[in-house]
Symmetry: C2
Subunit: 250 residues, 2 copies
Amino acid sequence: MTTTHATSNEATGTNGTGPVSPDALVERLREQATRYHSEHDFHVRMNAGELSPDQIRGWVANRFCYQEAIPRKDAAILGNCPEREVRRRWIRRITDHDGTESTEGGIEAWLRLGEACGLERAEMEDGRHIVPGVRFAVEAYVTFTRTRPWVEAVASSLTELFAPGLMAERLAAFERHYTWIDRDGLDYFRNRLHQAPRDSEHALEIVKERCRTVEQQDAAVAALAFKNDVLWSMMDAIDRAYPDDRAYPA
Amino acid sequence: MTTTHATSNEATGTNGTGPVSPDALVERLREQATRYHSEHDFHVRMNAGELSPDQIRGWVANRFCYQEAIPRKDAAILGNCPEREVRRRWIRRITDHDGTESTEGGIEAWLRLGEACGLERAEMEDGRHIVPGVRFAVEAYVTFTRTRPWVEAVASSLTELFAPGLMAERLAAFERHYTWIDRDGLDYFRNRLHQAPRDSEHALEIVKERCRTVEQQDAAVAALAFKNDVLWSMMDAIDRAYPDDRAYPA
């Protein structure tokens, strides 16, 4: 069964009567949860414990393309943001992923996840398993954050509103079904459980405060829908590259 | 007397015989010091104690446009850099200028310099004194770092090689000649005395390591020449806006 997925054109209609209150805008944004990639068939099967080790490895190796792009995406937002106070909080996302002298960072944690799954570090870092559809989707996201107004780019990050639910479910699923993966390898998911809510709270604050006109509110919802498309498109490409009966690597 | 200034086209010639050694490349880069804005007549007069309070204020208010753009410039470089290890060091520049919860940051220090000179914080932040030539030069610099290969953008930062000399001279000149400015207001210059060498060392490492072909080496020298043009052009615009006999604000 393939989950159907409304494209952003169909899913971002306005009420046609003018701007809504900040809280109603948050509601509109939250409605995009139905289009989050947690609903994708590949994720549904992942969390039901139905994926093979090869499929898990294929997902981890491809998803690394996205992980590795996150600091560039956040730096692009920082580079377009003229407000020091916003930058001072946003920059934390970059160190969370790149790490510092004293902290590991999300990219390193993802590499450890890959190693726990049986992937070599080198085969993740050189991108040999990354399929074109994943690469194109990730680059589309980075380009969006470089070229669109920074508040829209902030709005596109709001898939983090939906992430903790998926993270918690995934963590439980991995610990239960994929016992061949060392539990220490799952730190990335654990870290995101508290990082994502902190990050989405800041992003939501910005969007609520600055998206006051119909056009701004529509643009924020469209940005989030676009981001859902990015994540969904990645899952489509991964799903196609690692079907149920195909060994990995090909 | 107006100091003459060779443009980047005239000043970046190669030896025409192939790539040079990393150390010889550093020499080529250091030769650009003759075109650094410390040689501009306005700076020469500043350091000789010849500027009026109005001229000093005009310079401080206009130079704030540049200070404020630095984190966006560095975030643009970060956003174009695919290498985590480089990003982990480069990000320090952003917190140095934006500050953190526990540190003031260079932008704040510059605002304090302005206040020590008799400027209101608001008139610096709203940019009312910034002349078009300064704004255009600063935006050209940010655009350069957004759109050029990140190693070239790193090379353009190498005016920091020449900065400590100017900073030390300026600090001494301010303490000696402009005694109407509170010494606490000069912290920005003091901080840059140790930040600039640390930053330029990292940038030089990157450029030495990665600019190995003639084309790469020429591009690095051209990037630095471009940056000298940016700084020089700002001084030209400021010099014209605040001539010796004109009161400030206009």
